[in-house]
Symmetry: C2
Subunit: 81 residues, 2 copies
């Protein structure tokens, strides 16, 4: 069942999804605080998600994607997942 | 920033991703225990994820997708996310 291709490790995935969220937020001219408020996520937790320091949950991915006006699956695809 | 279209609620998203995982697991002829072991996830936790009783994390979505030989973003898309 193991794939041969190289895979990102855990830290790589968390860093990648955080960077995708940050890039899309900036593209939409939102501050981190504004995105946190729109998503209903604690501001300090949002900072940790963007820095890849937290294992973001599915429902928070959904909330962030809604606030960024895109599909959750799209955020994951952009993050290489 | 609010979309007009109907959105699933939290329980709907968790139920949907759990159903997608279960369907794909069965298609591959895997028991829930086998998928849990392949994913490195506790067996009882895997049962709760499949039943939509837990807010599955990004890294567990990655692990499950790897075990099911598909992309994490694909699982989310199948779940309507």
């Amino acid at each position: 069942m193991q794939r041969v291709s190289a895979k990102m490790d855990d830290a790589g995935y968390l860093t990648a999804i955080g960077a995708v969220v940050r890039a899309r937020r900036l593209k939409q001219g939102l501050s981190q605080e504004a995105l946190a408020d729109l998503s209903g996520i604690d501001r300090s937790h949002m900072g940790r998600i963007e820095r890849g320091e937290r294992n973001v949950t599915f429902l928070n991915i959904v909330r962030i994607a809604n606030a960024l006006d895109c599909r959750p699956s799209h955020l994951l695809r952009l993050a290489g997942a």
